[in-house]
Structures are given as C-alpha cells and as structure tokens.
C-alpha cells in the first residue's frame, strides 16, 4: 500500500546477510517525496529500529536521523518540489521532512562531536520515494565519505539496479534476517520517544514477548500501537488471537489500531474476533482493501456481505458505527478496473461500515510502464490510469466521492443508504434528478404581476 506503514518482510529472510559489524552505525530514514503523506505519525523505519536493537546488542554505537519524525502536535514540514501535469490537472508533489540543510546540520553536529559512522543504513519502503534516499546518501557522502551506505527495504528489494545507479548506495539489504526481524523495535534511539509504535508478531514470537514489548514501550509513554504484520488474522491466526488474549488479560489501557491488515472476512470467519480485538484495546479498525481479490460483480457482492457481517459484529463488540472506529478499504488503480463499479462498491461499503479509505494501488516497478520515471510510478498518481482508459481527473472524482462519504457531521458520517426518512427522500431526489428542475419551476428574472393577492 502506498505510504501505509509496514514492517517490511515480517518473517524476515533467513538468507539475507548483514554487512560486517561496525563500531558506529548511523540509521537514516529519509524525507518523503510524495503528493501527500497520510498517517505521518505511523511512518516509522521499523527495519532500522529493529536493526538498532540488534546492533546495540552487538556493541555498536547507533544513532538515528528520522526525517519524518515529528512531535504529536507538530506539523511535519513540507515544501513543494514540483507541479505535475496529470492529464491537465495540476498536482503538487511535496517533500516532507526537515530541509536538506537541517539534515546536513545534524550530520555536521555528529562529525563535530567526533562521531564518524563506519556504516550507514537508509530505509525506504516505497519505491517512488527513492529521491529521499538519494538526497540523504548525497549528504552522508559529503560529510562522511569513508562510510559504507546500505539501502534497506522495498526499494532495495524491488528496484536494486535503480538504487545502485540513482541513489548512490554501496550495498543493498532487501530484508532483515529472521533473527533480527523478530526483535522488538528500539524506540530509544529517538531523542523524543514517539507516541505511536508499530509492533510485529514476527515469524515465531511468543505472545508474551510482544506484550512485554508493548508494556515496555508504554512505560516510555507510547500509547498508540499497531500490529503491522500483513493479514495477521488469517496468516497467523492462532498467534494473533493469543496475542489479543494476552493484551486483553494484561489490561494495559492502550489504544490499538488496525491499519489496513484486518479483512472484513476475518471477522466473518472468526465470529468472536471483533470482541477479542475490542477487549485487547483496539479503538479503530481500518479494514484491509480488496487488492488480492478479483474485480467481479460476484466478488463485490461477497465483499459487501462480509462488511455487513463485520460491521454488525463490531457494533456488538462496542465499536461505534459511522465514526472513526470503523473504516472500510477499497483498492483503486489496478489494471483493468471499471471506475464506476469501484465507486458503486465504495458506496456500498460505506453503507455497511460508515466510511472508507481509498487505497491507491502501488504497482511494482516491474508492473509499470518502463518509460515512467520511478517517482512517477507512485500509486497516488494512478500510474496505470492510461492503460485503463481513464484520466487522473476520473480518479479524483472517486477521491471526491470518498470525501463526501467520509465527511462527518457531529462525528458521524451520513448514511446515504439508510432507512431513515431523509436518506430515502435523498435517494428519491437522486432517482428523479432533482438537481435538474424543469425551467417552469424556476420562475423568471422578471417580477410577475400577481392578480388577486
């Protein structure tokens, strides 16, 4: 998912070899180049944070520069990079994060303090964000020319040739070895510990171990958590349930969020899952989108049916419907899609669950047209739109529709498909094209002469 938080490859890769240990290791999460950056508080370099724990345990002196980190009430700085022309629509592309000068100053401060890294890891989980990697690599090279620079994450995994050619890295680390992937993220490398944290079930972590990680982070005033593994309720069902039960029993009073990795069908398959999640501390479920499912009428019906059941079970578990507590998900931008059908499905999902997130489909570099620069293969620009015979404006229409479906009045969304008097009258008005009245009802510009009044 474009820009969605991720722990990378949660299971890790047993074959991946780390560079040789070093005395001083600098971890860098670069600024983000994108048209928008949602959920900025959840953007954490989860691979780097696990590496930090590993490296510190091995005796390395580790420092972190996170260009996306910001304090809870602080707005992440952004500056415009360029204005794109997307089929005639102006689209701003931004750089999110402190200025290059500010990052250079941080590097200079390290050097001034006599701290020279031997090894620098730069994490990038979204391939179109590669410019941030290139930028920080350039800055690191200027200040620490002797350091080896390693790119970590999806960019290194999916676009290795590009990373070597354009980002100027020395080495690539596509994923973490399994023994490191299962480690808890080390938030103490931050000067100010974030309020949000991503945690992972890993390949074989004990539930108690994860609960201990959460407890330890909560002690450092982290109050918002997301289990970031892909599809935990289906891929590692039993362990996920054990973790939920352990969190429930631990009574930690923390807030948990499902950020697009729980499917509505999970709650259909496991009738007590909503209740278990609620008891564990979940305050929001942003459901997974449908990118793994075919775009057929039959499948749409199944999705809507699953949402109806899931919403009902969540409601019974105490999630308040039509609020931020429950949010559907729909994937948009896949090859071969029919946008009108997507809009219809999106409307029906919100009818069931209250609101919906449009998740732009992020094609891999291999899927995209080869002549499109990597940064423009960004899912938020819907790079497959021309293949679908659609324009960027068409997709913005869908985003606009989602804005209305998600708009809240006194904290709740409007139920366009509801059974109340006003929704029914609204639908009647839509059915008769009430917004296009015949000219005779509109009156005239002239003052009518009224007789007998």
């Amino acid at each position: 998912m474009t820009g969605a938080p991720t722990t990378g490859s949660p299971a890790g890769d047993a074959e991946t070899a780390l560079p040789a240990p070093a005395d001083r290791v600098l971890l860098v999460y670069p600024p983000v180049y994108d048209t928008r950056l949602n959920w900025a508080q959840w953007q954490q370099p989860s691979l780097l944070l696990r590496l930090a724990r590993h490296l510190r345990a091995a005796g390395s002196d580790v420092r972190l520069i996170d260009a996306v980190a910001h304090r809870p009430r602080e707005r992440l700085r952004r500056s415009r990079v360029e204005i794109l022309d997307a089929d005639g629509q102006r689209v701003h592309r931004w750089r999110f994060g402190p200025t290059a000068a500010a990052i250079a100053a941080e590097l200079r401060a390290l050097a001034k303090a006599g701290w020279q890294p031997d090894l620098v890891y730069v994490e990038c989980q979204v391939t179109p964000w590669w410019e941030g990697v290139a930028e920080v690599v350039r800055l690191v090279r200027q200040r620490f020319p002797a350091a080896r620079v390693v790119a970590v994450g999806a960019y290194a995994r999916l676009a290795p040739a590009h990373a070597r050619a354009h980002a100027g890295v020395d080495d690539l680390l596509p994923g973490l070895p399994a023994r490191i992937a299962r480690l808890a993220a080390d938030l103490t490398v931050y000067p100010h510990v974030p309020t949000h944290a991503l945690v992972s079930l890993g390949a074989d972590r004990e539930p108690e171990d994860l609960v201990e990680e959460v407890r330890a982070k909560a002690a450092k005033r982290v109050h918002h958590f997301a289990i970031a593994d892909h599809a935990p309720a289906s891929r590692c069902r039993d362990r996920f349930r054990e973790v939920l039960a352990a969190l429930r029993d631990a009574r930690l009073g923390l807030n948990f969020y499902a950020l697009g990795n729980i499917a509505a069908s999970d709650l259909v398959d496991q009738p007590d899952l909503a209740e278990l999640m609620r008891a564990a501390g979940y305050v929001q479920i942003c459901f997974a989108d449908d990118r793994d499912q075919p775009m057929t009428a039959a499948c749409d019906e199944q999705i809507v049916a699953a949402y109806r059941v899931a919403a009902e079970r969540c409601r019974a578990a105490g999630f308040v419907p039509r609020t931020d507590a429950l949010v559907g998900g729909i994937c948009v931008g896949r090859r071969g899609e029919d946008l009108e059908s997507r809009a219809r499905l999106m409307t029906r999902i919100t009818g069931a669950v209250g609101s919906v997130i449009v998740w732009p489909y992020q094609p891999t570099p291999a899927e995209c047209l080869r002549d499109l620069p990597l940064q423009l293969q960004n899912g938020k620009l819907f790079p497959l739109r021309a293949e679908n015979g659609l324009t960027y404006g068409d997709y913005m229409g869908l985003v606009g529709l989602s804005a209305i479906l998600n708009a809240k009045h006194r904290d709740v969304t409007f139920d366009f498909l509801g059974d109340g008097l006003i929704p029914r009258l609204f639908r009647d008005s839509i059915a008769r094209s009430g917004w296009e009245p015949p000219s005779e009802v509109k009156g005239t510009m002239q003052l009518p002469v009224l007789v007998g009044r």
Binding site: A343, G397, L425, K442, M445
Partner: protein, 496 residues
C-alpha cells in the same frame, strides 16, 4: 411584589435629552444568551454602540458591558445553564439539546457592573435581539434592578420591537422601546466604549425594504414602512475609515434590510472604498437580493474586499417563494446571480459562493427541500442550512400563532404545556408537530439528518473543491447506481 407592565415607548414618545457633560450616567448592557448554540461571528450590539455614541454626544457618561464580547480567538465564554442547580435541556421528540449560558456568567457581570459603576447609573439600556432569548434579558433586568434600584431600566432592540406586549409584561423593565431611535440610527457605533476594540465592525448603509416577505420582520422593524433610506456614501466611508485608522479594524460586515434595492448605492460605497486604498475583508452574511447582482457589481465587490458572497437560494420552486410573498426571488434570478459571480471571479465549488437553503417552515415539502439541496450542491457546492424561526410580527407567525402559542404541546416525558417565545427557537423545530400533519412519521432527528446531509455535502472536499455527486463523472454515476439499487424494506413507512 408584582411590577406593573413597562411603558411601551417609541421614537416619537421617548426623549433622550442633552444634559450637562457627565451629569447623567448610563449603562449600556448587551446581556448573555441562553441557547443550544451560538455563532459569535458578526454578533456585535451595533445598535447599542450607536446609541452610546448619541448619548455621549448629548453629555451622558456612558459605560458599556458587552457580556457577549469575544476573546482574542473570537470565542465567548460558555457554561451549562442551570435553573435551581438543574442543567437545562430542551427535549423535542427524539432530540435533546443541552442549553448553555453563552457570554459572561451572572457573577462576573455583577462584579463588572459593580466595578464599572461605583455610583449607580441613572439609566440602564439593555439591548435584546432574538425573541427566543428574552429570558436572559429578563434576568439582566432583574440583576440591574437589584444592583441599581433607582435607575430607569429601558429595553430596546428587535425583540421588544416585534413583541412589545410580551416584553412589557415579562421583562420587568420600566420602558420597552420599540422600533428605531432615529437620532441614533446614523451614528457610528462607538468602539471607544470597549476596553479592547473589536476586530470587526458592522456597517449599515441603508434601512428598509420594499418587500414584505412572509417570514421576515423587516417591515415591522421599520414601523410598517416599505420606504428605503440610504446613507450618504461619504458618511459610510468616513465611518469605515474611522474604524480602520483608529481601531485597526479590517473586517467589515454589511447588515442591511436590502442592500441593493437602492440602485447603485452599495456599488458607490464600494467604489469609494476601492479609491480609498483601504485593504478590507468585507462580508454580507445576510445575503443579497439576487436580481440586482450583476457581473459589474460583483467585480466591484471583489475588488473592494468581498472574498465570499452569500446568495439567498431558499427554495427551488417559484411557487414556494411566491407563497412566501417573495415574487422578486426565483431560482432563475439565483442562477443569473451565480453565473455573474463566477464571471466576476468568485470560484464555484469553493466557499467563495454560498447559498442559503431554508427548512423547518410550516408546510415544508421535504421532497422539494431535498431537490433544492441537491440543486445547490450541484450548482454551487456550498450550502448554508437555515433552520426557520418564526418571528413575531411576521405573516407566518401571525398565521400560526394559534398553533405556536395557544395549543398545548406534548413533551417527550408525556406532559403537556403551552409554549412561550423561548420555545420558538428554530433549533428546537417549532413546526415539527405541525408538519406531522403532512409527514406523520417525521421525527426531530430527521431535521438533524437533513442538516447533517447538507454539512457532509459541504465537507466532502478534495483540496478546496467540493465534490459533486450529481455530475457526470464515473464516480458520481457509480454512487447514483448504488443508491438507486436500495429497495424499500418490508413494512416501510410511507412518505407523503
């Protein structure tokens, strides 16, 4: 002891004499408000401030207590209103609205008045605006009586003008003043009465309206006259210049009965503003008569400082507006004004152009209102929901006075009671029961849903642009397909 009813005086019978400088003390009081909601913008007691200027000119020692004065962020204090220690709630059908005390609390007002007047004032002038706020005016009168038992207490403003008998009987004042005090009308509101000058000012360039719309009290407020009086543009400009130079005010709101009916007058004022070089933010939150909004005028408005305009759409069908005696208002003239505004550079689907949609009237056709909502959503993009309040002195009020005030109403707890003016607040849906004659299933929450619908249609924006459910985009078509597929469930309630 029961106090006799107040004397009801008007311009011809009330004398505000010139006195030796400082020989008479007057308190001007803008009382707090009891309501479920309060919109603190553009709520300045401009009439009281004009009166203050006039009285100062006549030698009075005038001091102001504006209990509704906003803080630097534009907010007024707010606390739950309690009677006998019980928090007040208005319940209508399936809706319950907590009632708040907006503005300074009574203890703070008491302390401020005591500090303001070591020696009691000779006269207390209290302004009272909305008829459904009369109870806080009554309480303000009582407090002033307690603190200054020898002062003459006078109440003026919209409420006493449209409901003089009610005010005379219920407020406990000495004098209820109705209508316009002509000697004060053209005075400039006196900002020197404030310790911290307001950040905005209200300007009135003309008074009167030739029309007599059935829901509007302007005719009553203007003494039954349909004459329009426009101020000298030079005087208006000088007033604006005073606020601009002396108090640093940049935001001005035009409050008029009908700003455009004196052809060319407002345009002349605006052209003078442009010539003056003052950079102003101008607003007319009450809207304009759409027939007179030409592209030329709108261009001048934009250059003078109007970034956004409000258009009275009100109802889609001409037969509806005719029923309100608004033959000068039609969707056709609204469309022409909208197109002129776009041509003049106001951006559609942003908050540059906003349109009022009126609802909550007796005999509302909900289907027509929904059509109107969709029309404005599609055409303009920004809807201003206007819940109707019946105002004494209007045709609609007179026509429905029997239903409103003389028929007992059922409370949600099963009891019955007669309503008073505080119950006629539009937010409390005074015509809910009446409109059940047409829609037996109508609930209070349906009106809240209608308001919610308008709100979400406004809030559905991508960047600055409001999305449109009614356009020909693929997404909109998909939405309409989805809503068109909803079938009535069994045992559906019928819609009239």
């Amino acid at each position: 002891m029961t106090r006799p009813p107040a004397r009801v005086l008007a311009d011809a019978t009330l004398d505000v004499p010139s006195v030796p400088a400082g020989s008479r003390r007057a308190l001007l009081l803008n009382p707090p408000v009891y309501d479920a909601q309060y919109w603190a913008r553009w709520s300045q007691p401009a009439g009281l401030l004009r009166l203050g200027r006039m009285m100062r000119d006549r030698g009075y020692d005038v001091r102001l207590l504006d209990a509704m004065e906003t803080d630097a962020r534009g907010y007024v204090p707010k606390s739950r209103r309690k009677v006998g220690g019980v928090p007040q709630v208005v319940r209508r059908d399936d809706m319950a609205k907590p009632i708040y005390h907006f503005g300074l609390g009574w203890d703070a007002i008491r302390a401020r008045l005591t500090a303001l007047f070591p020696e009691a004032p000779d006269e207390v002038w209290i302004t009272s605006v909305m008829t459904y706020w009369w109870e806080s005016t009554r309480d303000a009168v009582a407090l002033c009586r307690e603190l200054f038992p020898h002062a003459t207490v006078l109440v003026g403003g919209i409420y006493p003008t449209v409901a003089p008998a009610h005010a005379a009987a219920k407020l406990g004042a000495d004098v209820v003043f109705t209508g316009e005090l002509h000697a004060a009308s053209d005075c400039w509101p006196d900002f020197s009465l404030y310790e911290r000058a307001p950040s905005y000012a209200i300007v009135t360039t003309s008074r009167g309206c030739p029309w007599d719309c059935h829901y509007c009290a302007a005719r009553t407020l203007n003494g039954g006259s349909n004459k329009v009086r426009a101020r000298d543009p030079d005087d208006v400009l000088a007033e604006i210049r005073e606020k601009y130079d002396k108090y640093g005010v940049r935001r001005f709101g035009f409050y008029e009965d009908n700003a455009l009916v004196s052809r060319g007058h407002l345009q002349e004022v605006l052209e003078r503003i442009i010539e003056s070089g003052m950079k102003l933010d101008l607003y007319a939150p009450e809207g304009f008569e759409t027939r007179f909004l030409t592209t030329d005028l709108l261009k001048v408005m934009k250059r003078a400082g109007f970034d956004r305009i409000h258009l009275p759409f009100e109802a889609l069908k001409f037969e509806t507006t005719l029923g309100w005696n608004r033959r000068h208002a039609s969707t056709a003239s609204f469309e022409a004004a909208f197109e002129a505004a776009v041509e003049a550079g106001f951006k559609p689907r942003s908050e540059d152009i906003n349109a009022f949609v009126l609802f909550g009237l007796p005999d509302d056709s909900l289907a027509d209102i929904l059509d109107g909502v969709l029309y404005v959503h599609h055409k303009v993009g920004s809807i201003v929901p206007m819940l109707f309040t019946p105002v004494p002195g209007t045709h609609i009020y007179r026509e429905h006075e029997q239903y409103l005030l003389r028929e007992p109403k059922r409370d949600p707890d099963g009891g019955q009671r007669l309503w008073d003016l505080q119950d006629l607040n539009g937010k409390f849906l005074p015509f809910l029961e009446y409109n059940r004659r047409r829609y037996p299933e109508l609930r209070a929450s349906d009106y809240l849903q209608l308001e919610a619908l308008m709100s979400v249609l406004n809030n559905g924006k991508v960047l600055w642009r409001a999305a449109d459910l009614c356009d020909d985009a693929l997404a909109s078509r998909g939405f309409r397909t989805a809503v068109g597929e909803i079938r009535p469930p069994k045992q559906r309630r019928t819609v009239a």
